[in-house]
């Protein structure tokens, strides 16, 4: 995984929908700089959502790469309905499902060892590594997706209900339960 040489400047978690829509339209018009800006504004959301589905950092990175290529190739056909990030997440979900299908065919897939993943990285602090590990290991699949969409990407619970096709009360209760669970674990020093 490309963890070395990470800068944090490229990672703004931000969802200004109007700006994102403008950028997608510029990409359709062939503006290469717009792809860079779109990437800066959305990469954390895309990567986190992919990671929440795939639970594997390499696969999530592959998917993120493919998502931006797809966005770039499909920008011309993008119809702005005011939800550009949700559109990108749909693309992400589709790429993830393709990845999962491939994984299902590959018998020797082994789950990621989160304790080792960031052990050698100087860019990821111990606390961040613990939080990621707790999220991956202690949250249910659905809780993880809901938590990343809200806490990382800033989606409202109602929007998350739409994205994940879940009833709003389910999203609300799962979210608060997941956060409580994490808070408790983190208060115990990440050891549960």
């Amino acid at each position: 995984m490309m963890l070395s040489g990470l800068s944090t400047a490229h990672k703004t978690v931000h969802t200004d929908d109007r700006r994102l829509a403008e950028l997608i339209l510029s990409i359709a018009g062939g503006d290469a700089h717009s792809l860079g800006e779109l990437y800066k504004l959305t990469s954390v959301s895309i990567y986190s959502f992919a990671l929440s589905i795939l639970k594997n950092s390499h696969d999530a990175e592959d998917v993120m790469h493919d998502v931006y290529l797809t966005v770039s190739a499909s920008a011309a056909s993008y119809e702005d309905r005011g939800k550009p990030l949700a559109w990108m997440l749909t693309i992400t979900k589709n790429h993830c499902l393709m990845k999962l299908r491939k994984r299902a065919k590959n018998a020797d897939y082994c789950p990621e060892n989160w304790e080792e993943t960031f052990a050698l990285s100087s860019d990821v602090s111990t606390e961040d590594a613990v939080i990621i590990r707790m999220c991956m290991e202690k949250l249910s699949d659905e809780e993880l997706r809901i938590v990343t969409l809200h806490a990382v990407s800033g989606f409202k619970h109602r929007e998350i209900a739409d994205i994940l096709s879940l009833p709003l009360p389910t999203v609300l209760s799962k979210y608060s339960r997941a956060i409580r669970k994490l808070r408790k674990i983190l208060a115990d020093g990440g050891t549960e």
Partner: protein, 484 residues
């Protein structure tokens, strides 16, 4: 809560890799997978330009011929089955030029000289030859006829005439066959470029683009490999609108049928109809020139996508996915919350003392479970129950507070011994009394189908840890260490 969210956000931000350079360079060079949300086929500019030039040249030629007497071309008609043949007609609908557009077309045309004959005679000869050569039969009986004539009224009249002639030729006692009549749209440059790129007629290209407009997953090149009968069946399936008319019904007799396909699919995944949560979708589809039934079905836990070869009945592919996005829709399959309460009541019998009861459906390692939390007599319990069977997968209790021992109910109706009895066993083993010890914790745990109390306490410089079988009262493990 905000603080935890910020920590999560920061952590995910920190681990997001920076691959912008690769993305930008690959998006310029066109590497990688980027075909998912393709809505409209975009053809290379060179091909579009060449095709546009072709169409313009063709238009000019046609225009010149219109003014040269009986040989003047009034309409261009192409016939597709799999053989493709193009005819140019004068204003009296007499063939002035005829050519085969593919190998099969050449076979059909053979040495026939149809120039100078009326279109009805020519069609009789061509369709007759197609039937003789086995291109049209009971199993495949669809014809695409496309008419290129700028006069809309004349175009419609000619289409109606050709449709009538062809239908009377292909209909048999048992099947009527299908005729798709299209009006060629000269302004459709996408169709022109596709026709030239794939070496198919303009009519077939137009039909393929109409199908692709209905389903963005369709690949024009793969559709081009199919005959008109298959395209006609797909057209019926997706309900695409065409620039013309569709009359009659294409034969699907060559295929095994939806019922058989479903049976084959179920046999392959070793399930019966009873295991299925309703057949969601079964469609006649195609993949790279092969017709197949695409069957999507759901069981309680999984979604299957199975492709069955429509001709042979062989399984082409089978994909299985966990139903993680949709399990809520199926909650009727799971035991009710009341049933969950009844099960929990076996452990915490006095339901009036329940506090903070929460019960949620969750997916955990692919199993749908109820996660239940409640406080009971000062103890926080967390139960995990299999949502289908109601089996308890795991129980956790928080640290046990000695002050609550006196009034604590025991799960006696499960036949477990009381906490006090478990503690007494350990105290007896240690040779201590209840007043000698400090820092007592007792946890009831369920592990490997075994209920046990985990007991820890200190006495003087020693720390004691013991596990007691909660069914039998037998001490499973006992340790005494010097307390650091």
């Amino acid at each position: 809560m905000k603080q935890t969210e910020n920590k999560i956000k920061n952590a995910f931000t920190a681990i997001t890799p920076d691959i912008l350079e690769t993305v930008v360079s690959d998006s310029v060079s066109g590497k990688g997978t980027a075909m998912l949300v393709k809505q409209k086929r975009r053809l290379p500019i060179a091909i579009v330009a060449a095709a546009a030039a072709f169409v313009m040249l063709f238009g000019v030629l046609a225009g010149v011929l219109v003014y040269t007497g009986n040989n003047a071309v009034a309409s261009v008609v192409s016939i597709d089955v799999n053989p493709s043949i193009e005819m140019k007609l004068n204003k009296k609908d007499v063939v002035v030029e005829i050519k085969a557009l593919n190998e099969d077309g050449q076979k059909i045309l053979g040495n026939m000289d149809l120039v100078g004959t009326d279109i009805e005679v020519a069609l009789n000869a061509l369709i007759g030859s197609m039937i003789t050569n086995g291109y049209i039969d009971e199993l495949a009986n669809s014809v695409l006829v496309s008419v290129d004539n700028n006069d809309a009224d004349k175009n419609a009249a000619l289409r109606e005439k050709l449709n009538g002639i062809i239908r009377s030729l292909i209909a048999t006692d048992t099947s009527e066959g299908a005729v798709i009549s299209l009006q060629i749209d000269r302004t459709n440059t996408d169709a022109a470029s596709l026709a030239s790129e794939l070496n198919i007629t303009l009519g077939k290209a137009q039909l393929i683009l109409d199908l692709c407009a209905c389903n963005t997953k369709y690949d024009p090149a793969a559709l081009a490999k199919l005959g008109i009968n298959e395209l006609s069946l797909i057209l019926k399936g997706v309900g695409a609108e065409v620039n013309g008319e569709v009359n009659g019904t294409a034969s699907d007799k060559a295929y095994i049928g939806e019922k058989k396909a479903k049976a084959v699919a179920l046999e392959y995944i070793s399930l019966s109809e009873d295991d299925i949560d309703g057949i969601i979708d079964i469609e006649l589809e195609h993949d790279d020139g092969i017709m197949l039934y695409e069957i999507e079905l759901f069981t309680e836990m999984n979604k299957y996508e199975i492709e069955v070869n429509a001709l042979s009945g062989d399984i082409v592919s089978c994909k299985k996915e966990e139903r993680f996005y949709i399990h809520d829709a199926l909650s009727r399959k799971y035991i009710t919350e009341q049933a969950v309460r009844d099960i929990i009541a076996a452990y915490c019998p006095d339901t009036e003392k329940w506090a903070g009861f929460e019960c949620e459906l969750q997916t955990d390692d692919g199993i749908v479970v109820y996660e239940v939390e409640l406080s009971y007599n000062g103890i926080d319990y967390e139960f995990e129950l299999n949502a289908v069977t109601g089996d308890i997968i795991c129980v956790e209790t928080d640290r046990y507070n000695r002050d609550n021992v006196v009034n604590n109910d025991t799960p006696s109706n499960k036949g477990l011994i009381a906490k006090e009895d478990a503690l007494n066993k350990v105290l007896e083993r240690a040779g201590l009394g209840e007043n000698d010890i400090k820092g007592l914790t007792i946890e009831l745990d369920h592990d490997d189908n075994l209920w046990k109390y985990e007991i820890e306490f200190r006495c003087g410089k020693y720390e004691y840890e013991a596990e007691v079988n909660a069914d039998t009262g037998e001490i499973i493990s006992y340790e005494r260490d010097i307390d650091d």
